[in-house]
């Protein structure tokens, strides 16, 4: 069953069409990520679900019921970008803000226990670290047992080291409480790592919805393919079984004629015996692996290779393509 269900939602601000007919399904107990560049309408989408904006047309269902009321009637918890804790209340006051008086203290203690902040009840928000603030914000949103929690880029303000740790914690918490959640982000890694399903959004539309590996391996269009990860894009010609590119033939069953080929950098494998020869131009070393820019017949492409025995700029290497190509009809633009 879908906990949240949007059908044909549109929203216009003056001349700006922020949402152009959005359908979205969030199954109960799952985490769906809405991924898109800034300005694609994803924050508007959250605000419509929460009830801060009224959609022009379309319906929003939460727990099976069509929502038309104000935010306070919707049982939607929100975790804004920088936590937005109430600065005049302490941790307990923040977490208990949405609770009724009876049983409040017990529930607050329970929630703080859950997010690992027991004992910090009397701290003021400015006395907490960024990660602690976000956990309090999450506890505050979860405390009244909402039907769905909306997370609006909740990790963007944190530094990289903290981010991945907090992601895991948040994910575990949402799973443990069986909470349905929508995570809005422009960070591909975040969306792919955390979500059960990803909805890619562009210019007010959901252009593709699916599991993270579907989105990554079988993007619906070239732009989505480029957006969700590093991509190698080449022109090719299909004969029904393989496409021929400058890198050589790539498996592509059923593809005919002029196409645009999208490969992931990790599909370009080093092979000393391969017929395709490439010259290494430069390396971006990441420790566990490296993005290597190589040149094949005058075309520069990137490959992802494991650290350890990396070539040097100027070296010549053999290249072979692993797996199937993703193809789109027509030659690449430009």
């Amino acid at each position: 069953m879908n906990e949240v269900e949007l059908r044909g939602v549109t929203k216009t601000f003056g001349a700006v069409r922020a949402l152009r007919g959005v359908d979205l399904d969030v199954p109960a107990g799952s985490l769906v990520s809405v991924l898109g560049p800034s300005g694609c309408g994803k924050t508007t989408l959250l605000r419509v679900i929460a009830g801060f904006e009224r959609q022009d047309t379309g319906t929003v269902r939460i727990a099976g019921e069509v929502q038309t009321g104000p935010p306070e009637t919707r049982r939607v918890g929100i975790v804004p970008q920088e936590g937005a804790l109430f600065p005049h209340l302490d941790v307990a006051g923040n977490v208990g803000f949405g609770l009724r008086r009876d049983g409040r203290a017990r529930r607050v203690a329970e929630m703080l226990d859950l997010v690992g902040l027991a004992g910090l009840e009397r701290r003021k928000p400015h006395e907490l670290s960024g990660g602690q603030q976000q956990r309090v914000a999450l506890a505050r949103a979860l405390a009244p047992e909402p039907a769905v929690v909306l997370l609006d880029e909740p990790f963007t303000a944190l530094d990289a080291g903290l981010r991945s740790g907090l992601r895991t914690q948040v994910l575990e918490l949402l799973r443990a409480t069986g909470t349905t959640a929508v995570l809005v982000t422009h960070d591909q890694t975040e969306a792919l790592v955390m979500a059960d399903a990803v909805a890619v959004m562009r210019e007010g539309r959901i252009v593709q919805a699916g599991t993270p590996d579907e989105i990554y391996l079988r993007p619906a269009d070239l732009e989505t393919g480029r957006f969700v990860g590093d991509a190698v894009i080449l022109p090719g010609y299909g004969d029904g079984a393989t496409v021929t590119t400058v890198i050589g033939p790539v498996a592509a069953p059923g593809v005919q004629g002029d196409v645009t080929v999208l490969l992931r950098p990790e599909q370009l494998v080093r092979d000393e015996y391969a017929a395709t020869r490439a010259k290494v131009r430069s390396l971006a070393f990441h420790g566990h692996d490296a993005l290597v820019t190589i040149e094949i017949a005058g075309v520069a492409v990137v490959a992802r290779w494991q650290g350890g025995t990396l070539p040097q700029p100027g070296d010549e290497v053999g290249i072979r393509v692993d797996g199937e190509a993703v193809t789109f009809s027509g030659a690449p633009a430009g």
Binding site: P70, P71, E72, I78, Q81, A84, F86, H88, G98, P144
Partner: protein, 483 residues
Amino acid sequence: MALLPLAYLVVRATERGWAPVRATLWRDRTLELVGRSLWLAATVTAACLVIGIGAAWLVSRTDLPGRRVWRVALGMPLALPSYVAAWAWLARYPSLAGFRGAWLVLTSVSFPYVYLPVLAALRRSDPALEEVARSLGRRPMRVFLSVTVRQVRIAATGGALLVGLYALSDFGAVSIMRYQSLTHVIYISYRASFDRTPAAVLGLVLAALAIVIVLVDAWTRGESRTAKVGAGTPRAAPPVPLGRWRWPAVAAVASVVGFSLGVPLWSLNHWLQRGRSRADWSQVVDATASTLTVSALAAVATIALAIPVGVLSARYAGRLSRAVTAAAYAGHALPGIVVALALVFFGIRLATPLYQTTSMLVFAYVVLFLSLAIGAVHGSVSQAPPELEDVARSLGRTQIGAWRSITLRLAAPGVGAGAALVFLTVMKELPATLLLRPIGMDTLATRLWSHTANASFAAAAPYAAAIILLAALPTALLTRDRT
């Protein structure tokens, strides 16, 4: 509402046709008055710029001995109403009457309008800029002129505008010093003759001058902004060693404090000792009570009106909210005597039952000081992020409930400070109170005024002391958070 007085003044000035208006305007005397007012405003502003910037730099960027004490002391003259300072100086040095006295008093009480914002700007500004300039080969003095002064320019011109408006529209100090400026002459011609057209016309001339100053300021302010990447806090600048200029600098700062605080307090003490036995203390108590009453009423009324306007302008930046805010600010630029005069005419003609009632007086205060309160409300509301209200609503609060429990709660200290500021300013207000107070009601300010007018300095002393004591309280409240 804020523009009503000005409109009515135009009606009043021209109701007998344009001939008397032209007659008043083209008299040599009028031109001379305008010249005198502008000359006073210009010289006071220039002196305040020099003293304000110099003092702010000395206490914030050098190794001046005792700079912490000086830093606080230099802001305190702000609490001293100009007419109290004028009374104190004149009571001790009667020969000061005239331009010299008016200039001295206005400069000594209004230089903090430049000093305080420049001090804040200097503390905010990043010394890294100056270090960069030094590393690019500039000498310290050129760095001060080309980098430091430029950084505080916006703060200093803003302060200078306030000083200019203050000096132009000051009524108490110039009248006590018997300097024939526009404000003083408007009052005299209003009191002295049955034909009040000249007073109305001169009032309009004064209003026009004030508006021109504000417009010139807005026009010259232009586009210059200070750009800054990142939100890091600037380091404290290492103090500049003064070397052999140490003690001359201390002497300079000490004499500024001496002139603006020392002499007035010393004179006050002198007259207080002499007048104590003869003072009518019951009158002092009465005047204190009525001062507190009207100030409190005005503070409550002003804040009550300022909350919707301030919230509107902070949350919804539309054309309407801009227009409402602009109108309120226009009221602030108008000199007190002009607003008072307009309301007198308005009261006599159209609102006779209100004329010379407390409500009319409170209304005048609201027009004069609404912008102060709006500024405070606007500032504190815009510091409360709107996302907090969203969060509160998602947790089950209604729109109004969320606004009350979050935004209003967060803005409360700022709103309270706004109320205290209005309270303080109303307590010190003189011209509108003089013209509009109900018959038989006297405030501390009007008592001080009438005793000084009769040259009974000793009788005025208790009132001056009471004003200073009462003003010190909200001032302490207002400056507590900032230091």
